[in-house]
Assembly symmetry: D2
Homo-oligomer: 259 residues x 4
């Protein structure tokens, strides 16, 4: 099989170092400016992904093909995004996969939406609710850039009032009052469907767990996940000094049948 080539209009992840990367669109005739000199896109078009290129100052950059995590981390954002470590837990705990039908709320700028769409494509669908219209525009932009907009339906509706879909595999919540959505989620889910909620505060977790207990859910579990980077160098290896101390708690539950 032939190697993949960088084309006009493609998104690339321009890599300088593990801490310095840029998610940009390749535009013929143009160039991209950094503090280490500029890169001419014409030097990249037609070359293999993963190729290196020199900036005007002679600094080496590498043109990588963006991955899911890059689209998440580099999403145009207006809110705090959900972290990849939490998205990873949400996806695996929810049990969703290719072909799943998922309701999400709120969309925010679409970071979690991007991940959900990535894993349910091409036959699955994400119905994503958001009451703040301006966020939906940003989310649409982020999803289109990641080539995942076809698998998402963005809905400018209040999920606490109602969920249009039924028999869905999972309801994924990342909003301020997840407990208000629990009865609607029960109705929207198929038998044994899952609900996963992400919340920064303990009080949100307590209220959500209570609502789940009162609304026919079982196997309720709340966890938090701490991720710490390692500084790896022979003879000097150690955990990194800087670490995110908290993002939020992930609460998981499964729907039981009505008695």
């Amino acid at each position: 099989m032939s190697a993949q080539k960088i084309g006009e209009g493609d998104y690339i992840l321009l890599y300088l170092s593990q801490r310095k990367t840029y998610l940009i669109k390749v535009e013929a005739g143009k160039s991209f400016h950094t503090h280490k000199g500029f890169i001419k896109f014409d030097d990249l078009v037609g070359r293999e992904y993963g190729s290196s290129v020199l900036s005007s100052l002679g600094i080496e950059f590498i043109a990588l093909k963006p991955l899911l995590r890059d689209y998440i981390m580099k999403s145009v954002r207006k809110t705090q995004i959900t972290y990849p470590k939490d998205i990873a837990l949400i996806v695996v705990f929810s049990g969703i996969g290719p072909g799943s039908c998922v309701v999400e709320a709120g969309t925010g700028t679409g970071a979690l939406t991007t991940a959900l769409a990535h894993f349910v494509k091409p036959k699955g669908k994400v119905y994503s609710y958001e009451i703040r219209e301006e966020f939906l525009k940003t989310a649409e932009k982020n999803l289109k850039r990641a080539n995942l907009f076809d698998f998402v339906e963005l809905k400018n509706k209040d999920v606490t009032i109602g969920i249009d879909e039924s028999d869905v595999d999972a309801v994924i919540l990342d909003l301020a009052t997840p407990w208000l959505v629990v009865p609607n989620a029960y109705n929207a889910l198929k038998s044994c469907g899952t609900i996963v909620s992400f919340s920064p505060t303990i009080d949100q977790v307590v209220k959500t767990v209570e609502a789940l207990n009162e609304n026919g859910f079982v196997d309720i579990e709340s966890v938090e996940c701490l991720m710490r980077g390692m500084q790896v160098e022979r003879g000097k290896t150690r955990p990194q000094t800087l670490m995110t101390g908290h993002t939020g708690y992930v609460t998981f539950a499964r729907k039981t049948a009505k008695p």
Copy 2:
């Protein structure tokens, strides 16, 4: 849409409590014995998933539909399995998704294989290498139970000697000497393909990161993930006393093009 019914031959997750669940096959005319009495499978066939059933001692159980995480946690095992929290990170960091072509080594009893197959199906494929033949039999059993065997090719081969596949999207390693596989992984990967390695010890991480540096990989990152459960009860909420202190480090990198 009609609710899903439990059928003869289906696997169910019989749920007593968050800590006590059983992954079992429904067999007409038989029953399943627990310390809380036995369950007759005939009481379950034809009922909706998520339904409750009483044991011979009058204790309520719920017949849930197994999720990916259940198949992972309940896999018949001979080795220590990779934890869902680590599997979650591996999947999301690797960038794989529906349709991806993945090389994995070693198979072990197939817990990680199960997750990879779940996310690349139906068009993708997992090529999983394992030198210990007895493990492959267990892995096959675990994969069949999870209905994912069609998306996996189990190979009784030594991945440090060679990888048959090429142009793969990701190479996922969970074996004692990942650094020995790095050159083969480079050759098997497509441009910008990813490698993800899971290792319990720091020395394994150091050797693997060195091999990645020397073999054309960039964006090398090693992390560990700590997951802690919360005991949620209004007025008494607190983190759980018991916690797994360490499973392993996840190391991630991307292939660059040959200069």
Copy 3:
């Protein structure tokens, strides 16, 4: 200076391995039985601390001199003891030291009392309140064994009703309702005296912080401390699998002067 000798009536820490130790009293003519054979105390009397001795089965034990941490961990207990990591934080955050005058509640079986007495001796004093009389007997036994009873006054009184002492340097709380003690603590403390409270649940922390805010305390801070052991062996070093996930939160504050 001559080395310290083991004497009749002394307490020793009999050490088999990092995980297997015994805090016992040396009694002439008697012996101590373990699953690795028995030790005759007469083999120990008059020997240097740190000496090794063989059991009746030829297994080597070492007779160590007990340290503060040993007295804490081996305290005869009826309640969950406060962990050394938390005791360490409490002592250092409270600002106490030799000569300090400290009020503690509740005594429990005296683990924290032992540490406080150890650090304020010989001129300081710990006034320790406990409403459950049976605990005070155990605490007295534990304190006497550690040779620290002279620096403690055990009080069978309810600290939420009143504190007899005044102008104390610190009030240290490890009881179910610390917030109820805050006004009394304010009155008992000298200017800029400290209060430190240890509580397992988040609700206790919230109520205590509120009471501190309302009662003239500043610099209020709540932290939790996670300690993880390392398994150290060249080429195989890694964090330990088992870990205590939670003991409690430590809340600290300082008294301001009345306006």
Copy 4:
């Protein structure tokens, strides 16, 4: 007993908020400038510790009496200081207390020295080794400010070459090559004396543990301690986002008698 008054020449901790404090010396006739206006020292002299004072801009500050932790955190520093959480562990694990005789190396700018002196005073002594003369001047200044210089002997000597003292209770190491000090530490310690070493990297820990094993130490234990602050507010309580991910590992051991 009368309340403590702020005097000319005293050090105070000027408190604006939990995150904004100043450790300063009270000098009659002078003032202290902050971004929230200046404070006249004459407004403070003769007042009770813990009193509030208004700045020239009408902002309230509180004049607190500095505690051990303040002297540690506000030490004039040229190196990274040891964190209070680690100092707490070191002190409690080492078993030292009032009257103990301790060897420390290296002094650095004296943060750990300050804590050790605080806990061994008034009869104990800290012998602190440091090869870099310029650090000793800073350490002296920091110790004098905390009123603890009388309990310390600063030594401009290389501890890897020799330790002058003998029969000491503990040897505390915070330097780049602790393993080189282990044989000297053995000779300097009394029977069952303790050694505690603080090191940021895993390789330092491995080498130190090996040296301890080879030089007559037992009960060897290495741990790391993670401290996370809580943001406490009714209805919004959560762990803090920012956290120090790593400072170092604390390794502990006890001397056995020569066979």
